[in-house]
């Protein structure tokens, strides 16, 4: 199952990107977590039919990708992976919501289509921001930031283990699928029956491996607290980063930029 293996390597690349040394990467992780939170709240708080006013928000991912030197195509591909799920969620909007909102010539565009598109833009923005956060901060540092921001330590560590468990599970699934595939001689194997027992085995095996990893962590002095090598403090740069972006998000959320620009340049 080369595809599972490739997908895991691809996902791990995101964590590796976090090891770069750009000005964005060296910022204190708390500032980046807070800005991402402000961004997501601003975007999500728009009404369900809002389209145009969300467009200026693309400035944040664009600037961050450039400043942090993240590969834009890679980030775009990651976001595109989520899109089918979003479309599935909003699939019935055009069916149930048939109120005509716009008319272009003979073509009528219903509220359902607008809300579906709005949902898609929202997901691109929020998922993109989350990916950028991981790619510029790293999962360990994010969990550490959450803890320093007051989230109980047990939740932060759970989140970290969950992230680690995804890789353990994916690795084991890749191996089990390959073994099954090689002995199915190009046919279906035993079909669904083999999958049910495989799932059970996967759970037990990954459980055991996760336990071994945990033991190895304990053996190296892990006491429920994560340390990152990059020591940082919340200084002037962080404050500027946080205030700058937050003010921009608040202005974009409260002021209709397109209208203002339209009034300035009639």
């Amino acid at each position: 199952m080369a595809s599972i293996h490739a997908a895991v390597i691809d996902l791990k690349r995101l964590d590796q990107l976090a090891g770069s040394d750009t000005p964005i990467h060296t910022l204190d992780s708390r500032a980046k977590v807070l800005v991402t939170f402000a961004f997501i709240v601003s975007v999500v708080s728009f009404g369900r039919y809002e389209l145009i006013r969300m467009v200026p928000f693309f400035v944040y991912p664009a600037v961050m990708v450039v400043l942090a030197g993240l590969p834009p195509l890679y980030v775009a591909r990651k976001i595109a992976l989520i899109s089918p799920f979003v479309v599935m969620v909003g699939l019935f909007n055009p069916v149930f919501d048939r109120t005509v909102m716009y008319q272009i010539g003979q073509m009528e565009i219903s509220g359902g289509w607008i809300s579906l598109l709005s949902l898609l833009i929202r997901s691109i923005l929020t998922v993109g921001a989350a990916f950028i956060l991981v790619g510029t901060t790293g999962f360990t540092a994010i969990c550490q930031a959450l803890e320093r921001l007051g989230i109980p330590q047990v939740f932060a560590v759970q989140l970290l283990f969950l992230h680690r468990y995804i890789f353990v599970l994916a690795d084991e699934t890749g191996r089990a699928s390959k073994a099954r595939e090689l002995r199915s001689c190009g046919r279906k194997g035993l079909g669904i029956a083999s999958f049910s027992s495989m799932t059970g085995h996967l759970l037990l095996r990954t459980w055991q491996q996760a336990e071994r990893i945990h033991t190895a962590m304990l053996a190296r002095g892990f006491v429920g607290r994560f340390h990152t090598h990059r020591k940082s403090r919340f200084g002037a740069d962080e404050l500027l980063f946080l205030l700058g972006w937050s003010l921009l998000f608040i202005s974009l959320r409260t002021v209709n930029i397109s209208e203002v620009l339209g009034a300035l340049f009639p």
Binding site: G19, Q209, A216, R220, V223, T228, H229
Partner: protein, 255 residues
């Protein structure tokens, strides 16, 4: 140097399913000794090793590291003293880069940034893996992973080094390199291994385990000469103590 002593007294371990993995095991390992624990598959070697730094808790009996009995309260100190390298490096490497992985232990020990840097650099140089510093552990070959896994433990400057199958999965050259590295480690060393030639080369003392019990404990040379004992424990002499395969084949043809 009493903290380099490892002592087990009437230790027993029963797994939750009722399997008795270790039955009444006692031994005393002193400072600077290099001891091999050998035995067939399922003899209880790995289970025994996992008791030495509290990864498993003995059902009965006692373990002491130096003057400290192994209890929940003493675990952090004991884990600082006993460095353990696990059999599968994939279980031991869990951070995004080799550097971060090797730094994990020293950071948990609360060392300063510069000390962590120094420890990581030294440990990676010791195992010949300095060039792997920025790589992701999952991109390494088996031998490289093993060396980095050893570096993760060396970086913690343990007084006692415990290794489960250190040479398994290594190519002959990497195996030689690792053996020279281990020879240089002056503190107490405890290994389990099926690589009996390595045991002969590195360990002056050998403990044989069979079905959860210690069958023999003594000088490696003497133990490997006792063919009856080895056969009873599903073991063989190291290859270097067996007849030369080429000469003995020639002998078989002529006779």
């Amino acid at each position: 140097m009493s903290h380099h002593i490892v002592e087990a007294k009437n230790m027993q371990h029963v797994y939750p399913d009722g399997t008795i993995a270790i039955k009444d095991v006692s031994f005393h390992i002193t400072h600077g000794e290099s001891v091999a624990i050998i035995g067939a598959n399922g003899a209880g070697k790995s289970t025994l090793l996992q008791h030495l730094n509290g990864c498993l808790e003995a059902t009965s009996g006692q373990i002491r590291i130096g003057d400290t009995p192994l209890t929940k309260g003493t675990l952090p100190d004991i884990r600082r003293t006993v460095g353990m390298v696990f059999q599968y490096p994939d279980d031991q490497l869990f951070m995004p880069t080799v550097f971060e992985d090797v730094a994990f232990g020293p950071l948990n020990q609360g060392l300063s940034d510069s000390d962590v840097d120094r420890r990581v650099t030294e440990a990676l140089a010791q195992v010949g893996a300095a060039h792997l510093r920025t790589k992701a552990p999952y991109h390494l070959s088996g031998g490289e992973k093993k060396r980095v896994a050893i570096a993760t433990v060396l970086a913690m400057s343990p007084d006692i080094l415990v290794m489960d199958e250190p040479t398994s999965g290594l190519d002959p050259f990497a195996r030689r390199q690792l053996m020279s590295l281990l020879r240089e480690f002056r503190h107490t060393k405890i290994f389990t291994s099926h690589d009996l030639d390595m045991v002969l080369d590195l360990c002056e003392r050998t403990i044989i385990m069979h079905e959860g019990m210690i069958m023999a404990d003594g000088p490696t040379d003497e133990i490997f000469k006792n063919e009856t004992l080895l056969a009873a424990c599903r073991l063989e002499k190291p290859f270097s103590m067996q007849g030369c395969p080429v000469c003995s084949r020639g002998h078989a043809q002529t006779s």
